[in-house]
Symmetry: C2
Subunit: 395 residues, 2 copies
């Protein structure tokens, strides 16, 4: 186990903390670009509360509304132009993962000459990885992506039909303001997708990471167990503040490094989903819910012991030894049944997606990220044919 | 659940990373005070390797050796004088928890006019909480206290027979260099004490924290389960690098906030141990091994459900309902048996400590920290009589 960890984001967690937004933003700037999504923050009154807190702290507010669920490069360009034109010195992301991701890209694009896609593409080391960005205050209104406490962002290029990510130290939010009250109004389906999203973040590192990370395993299982316990509560009763709080903290932990530090694995399910949703404007987590169990059944055959551990520790299932494939598959069945029980789709047919582009998804996935031998990184690495097989099993 | 979390320490983890000490220190200073303990780092050649790495990076090395196992105020004053006299601009702590804690106090004392005890006493808000300290690079040679990634330090005042702590944001190490190879030579007893120390850090927040922290519970259980699995391996075979690595990461996680964030509880076992070891120069963790099970048996009667959870999740014991005191006590028995099995004492008589000062320990404990009503904070708060009862049960 070899790793480095350094996360500068300051977390402020608790019901009612939105009132501190102005106070927490003021040390970082006085001309704030507030980035929002489709309008729910206006309908709920949240935008007004947020901008009032900012105004009370002496901060001038500018606005970039309308970030799409899969945030587009054109929105990044638009946001960066607004920030530049108005001399904004801080960004406040007020929304879900897409809003936070777009905000990160905007924060860096402000300082980037040329097309922001240069710096976004692939997330691999390249000459345009940003080294400078406006300070970002992340205020998630949805427990899902964990973007509020990490340095990554996923952006879609509508011109090239690509969806890819960027990652850079300068993209860590300075503050993650986690007020679970803001998530009380999230509809059932979006709540369920958030639960699926956070679990999938954890399963990716759990199943694709290096060997011998027992603490990370335990932490991952802890996040999943908590999501299994509190997710259904939050879905059944959206006003359950306690359940909302636990799911929100779980979503942050799922991708802030505390669980996956040192695991150093690929994210094959995410990579495949990104290509599919580059062609179909589906909710990211709906795609994950469909692909993840199918991927697990594929991967379990290569490494049953890890899936037996999952079945035992997460679902309490018995197993006859560490390589008991039947027990491994039983755990995956339980996981898929959980996803169904909270209302997630588990087959592409439920979204009206057929097999017409299946080879295209596979080809695009390994084109965007591969191990140099044409395979998608993960345990095991996946050939295009493997991806086609997994997607076919999920039709 | 309401909390703030902000930990600026950069973690560098992995076998062999000591070679990077100079490179990692250089951005923070060029005149380093290297603080060490009783001499084992010289005998092992580690001091020479460390100072060579520093020298190769162009850093001039000064030395403060001889920090005691319970680091004394006089050593803090001595170290600060060496740093001041030589214009040191960075501190490198090379040793165990006592060396790291002394280094933190030295780092702050350099900028403090007057007696450093002013700023150390109690760890409560007071006028002398330090706001400025030399940058600190922590290189633990023992997996135990977790001091390498937190902002606290425990110091003993030999003149007043007090042992107390300080905590301040400026005391976070800039870098925690965690090289498990450095712990390969730790003797069996010290290895066992480290395991006990890290588990006790976790049990304190687990049993004394606020309600409704299910993620923190799972993380705490994960750290304990990992310590139960890898601790005995590291003790049985000190050259087991894999076990050493897991125990080292567990020790860091036990007190860097990832487990206890938001739990906001007292540390009664530590507070009682500090008073006892202010009178007897015993190893901190030996005192913890004795006091913790006795404290657990006391606390379980007030809150059996939490101890039943511990018995079930950590030791896999069955329980007849959440308030099954018998199951709770069975879990504590298992925990005490584990401590014995790794060679820790579990009664004061094993250390030659009798009941002569037992009321004094209790009085001193609540004098140093109390809830304003004369009770030691914790679940439940403890009167002096409660402390005497727990210590008596541990004789």
């Amino acid at each position: 186990m070899q790793f480095e960890y350094d996360n500068p984001t300051r977390v402020i967690f608790g019901a009612g903390t939105l009132a501190r937004l102005g106070e927490l933003t003021r040390p970082h700037g006085q001309r704030a670009l507030v980035v929002t999504g489709g309008g729910s923050v206006k309908r709920s009154g949240l935008f007004e509360r947020a901008t009032k807190s900012l105004g009370d702290a002496g901060i001038t507010v500018f606005e970039c509304a309308g970030i799409e669920p899969n945030p587009r490069l054109s929105s990044v360009k638009r946001g960066a132009a607004i920030a530049r034109d108005n001399g904004c010195d801080v960004i406040v992301a007020l929304g879900g993962g897409s809003t936070m991701d777009a905000s990160k890209a905007i924060a860096a694009a402000v300082f980037h000459d040329g097309d922001p896609w240069d710096m976004i593409y692939h997330g691999q080391p390249h000459p345009h990885v940003p080294t400078r960005a406006l300070p970002l205050i992340a205020v998630p209104t949805l427990a899902a992506t964990g973007s509020e406490m990490n340095s990554g962002a996923v952006i879609s290029n509508e011109e090239t039909t690509e969806k890819s990510f960027m990652r850079a130290d300068c993209l860590y939010p300075r503050v993650a303001l986690l007020d679970p009250e803001l998530t009380l109004g999230v509809p059932r389906d979006q709540t369920a997708y958030g639960v699926c999203d956070l679990i999938t973040h954890v399963t990716e590192s759990y199943f694709n990471g290096v060997d011998d990370t027992p603490l990370q395993d335990r932490f991952a299982e802890g996040v999943i167990l908590t999501a299994l316990e509190y997710g259904p509560r939050a879905i059944a009763n959206g006003a359950d503040l306690e359940a909302r709080a636990q799911i929100q903290w779980a979503a942050t932990l799922a991708l802030n490094g505390w669980v996956n530090v040192g695991t150093n694995g690929g994210y094959p399910v995410h990579m495949i989903e990104h290509t599919v949703s580059a062609y179909h404007d589906i909710t990211h987590a709906a795609g994950l819910a469909i692909i993840n169990p199918a991927w697990m059944r594929f991967a379990a055959r290569h490494r049953p012991a890890r899936f037996v551990q999952f079945a035992q520790r997460v679902f309490g299932l018995p197993a006859q030894g560490p390589d008991d494939l039947a027990a491994a598959l039983a755990g995956i069945d339980r996981f898929e049944a959980f996803l169904k029980s909270i209302g997630c789709p588990t087959r592409f047919s439920e979204l009206g997606i057929g097999d017409a582009l299946i080879e295209t998804y596979a080809r695009d996935t390994v084109r965007i990220i591969n191990d140099g031998k044409g395979n998608l990184p993960g345990r095991p690495p996946m050939s295009e044919a493997d991806i086609v097989a997994v997607l076919t099993a999920a039709l």
